[in-house]
């Protein structure tokens, strides 16, 4: 049966922005916290405060398992990947430092870096290929004696292009500076192992492929780095209350103020879902949907597709344009006529659009997710064919 927007049968293809639907367990975990616990973690010694703390610890532990992190307390929770990246970039870079990044970055990396540039930090933006790939050789060539950090997205939020993270990580490790990875698009969708990939700082979003609620994310900080990483915020942590200086240990140094316990309860359930299903199975399903879509687009006239041609080199985010139809017009038509929800425009990544040649009009982005179905892809291809034909 085909989806019918008139009957509110929508097709959700905006998973690269935030995943939907969420696993059933997510709302259950949030409801359980709200109805049965409700305490403030780390702020009191009573049973409900401790139960709230246990929920947060469990979420840390399942994330540590997912990312191959030995000590779960190396993860600091944030409200999203953007906050995690800001802690990493604003905390580690000082005037006189040099930082390397790619031309496919999201503004969550580019804007803090452009601010830091005004503070005396030198920036090298390594150009990627037209399909968004970053060459490790080009990164190697950009290294200077003052290089302090390489910050790179694991996969582009525009084209889905997957970067060679492990190879980049080992180049960085060999040269003795730090490696920060933006895993907003990949945490839960692709295998990530912080040791095998030589990642020092891993920023992740909780509400995309980890199936948590919005308002959740985090930053993994390799042991020892916290000694040189300023916190973005300071305040009450529930620990060392007798002192007026910020704690210097993980995770409290970066977790001031009452945390989003209800959100982290939901994130824990989302990550348990990922672990139960298996990242490999999730990846296989999403790669299959992407491949089906790419093959279908290739058979249509008047369609430009961006990013690597093969589904194996990309996540489930696909950018394309329809000749003669602007991305915003196409998205409106897709929504109103076909009930297909997607995201047009620049996707907060102007550098990436310059790299692939779509600045300033942008692209139409379909972000597939684990819960999408083959028949939704077929229906969408027919809708795109119809728009391209001017029907």
């Amino acid at each position: 049966m085909e989806p019918d927007p008139g009957k509110n049968q929508l097709i959700y293809f905006d998973n690269a922005a935030t995943s939907w639907p969420k696993p059933a367990g997510m709302m259950g975990a949030m409801g359980y916290y709200n109805e049965m616990i409700g305490g403030s973690p780390g702020r009191s010694g009573h049973r409900r405060s401790l139960d709230a703390g246990r929920i947060i610890l469990e979420t840390r532990e399942v994330l540590a398992e997912l990312f191959g992190i030995d000590d779960s307390l190396r993860i600091a929770f944030t409200k999203n990947a953007t906050e995690a990246l800001n802690i990493a970039l604003l905390g580690i870079l000082h005037s006189g430092d040099h930082v390397i990044t790619s031309s496919m970055e999201h503004n969550s990396v580019m804007r803090p870096l452009r601010f830091l540039e005004t503070q005396g930090v030198q920036i090298s933006v390594v150009s990627c290929s037209g399909d968004g790939r970053l060459s490790p050789e080009d990164v190697h060539a950009a290294i200077r004696p003052q290089t302090r950090l390489l910050v790179v997205t694991h996969a582009s939020n525009v084209t889905g292009t997957i970067q060679p993270i492990a190879e980049l990580g080992h180049i960085v490790r060999d040269h003795g500076f730090l490696f920060c990875v933006d895993a907003a698009q990949t945490a839960g969708a692709l295998p990530i192992h912080v040791d095998e990939m030589a990642i020092d700082l891993l920023a992740f979003s909780g509400h995309k492929s980890l199936f948590g609620p919005q308002g959740t994310g985090g930053l993994y900080i390799r042991e020892g780095i916290e000694r040189h990483l300023r916190p973005l915020m300071m305040g009450g942590t529930g620990s060392r209350s007798e002192f007026e200086v910020q704690p210097d240990f993980m995770p409290d140094k970066y977790e001031s103020g009452t945390p989003n316990t209800i959100g982290l309860a939901g994130l824990g359930a989302g990550v348990r879902f990922v672990l139960t299903e298996g990242v490999e199975a999730i990846r296989s399903k999403e790669e299959g949907l992407t491949e089906r879509f790419l093959k279908g687009l290739a058979s249509l006239k008047g369609i430009a597709v961006y990013g690597p041609p093969d589904a194996a080199s990309r996540t489930a985010a696909v950018s394309f344009n329809i000749a003669g139809v602007s991305p915003s017009e196409a998205a409106l038509e897709l929504d109103e006529r076909f009930g297909i929800l997607c995201r047009p425009g620049l996707h907060c990544a102007p550098a990436a659009h310059r790299t692939i040649g779509t600045f300033s009009q942008g692209t139409i982005r379909f972000g597939f997710g684990y819960f999408n179905k083959d028949e939704e892809i077929s229906f969408a291809l027919e809708a795109i064919r119809s728009l391209a034909a001017g029907d």
Partner: protein, 75 residues
């Protein structure tokens, strides 16, 4: 003869550390209890982990290398 104190408490940097230690001891089946930090030991307003004094060595061995504690005090 001085009677041995019945309990030992482990003091940790934060509640996150205490709860991690609790999880480790729970998995090992080592009897323990979380209690507010006794005022005469520290002015910190958090919780600490109490074990019977005869379990102190086993508990320390279980936690070693997995979670850091700041002090161990006999009650």
């Amino acid at each position: 003869m001085i009677e041995a104190p019945p309990y030992a408490v482990f003091l940790f940097p934060s509640v996150s550390h205490v709860l991690k230690a609790e999880k480790i001891l729970k998995a090992r089946g080592t009897p323990h209890k979380l209690i507010p930090v006794p005022r005469h030991i520290s002015t910190d307003c958090g919780v600490c982990l109490r074990v019977a004094v005869e379990q102190q060595g086993l508990a320390a061995e279980a936690l070693q290398g997995l979670v850091t504690w700041e002090r161990m005090v006999l009650l």
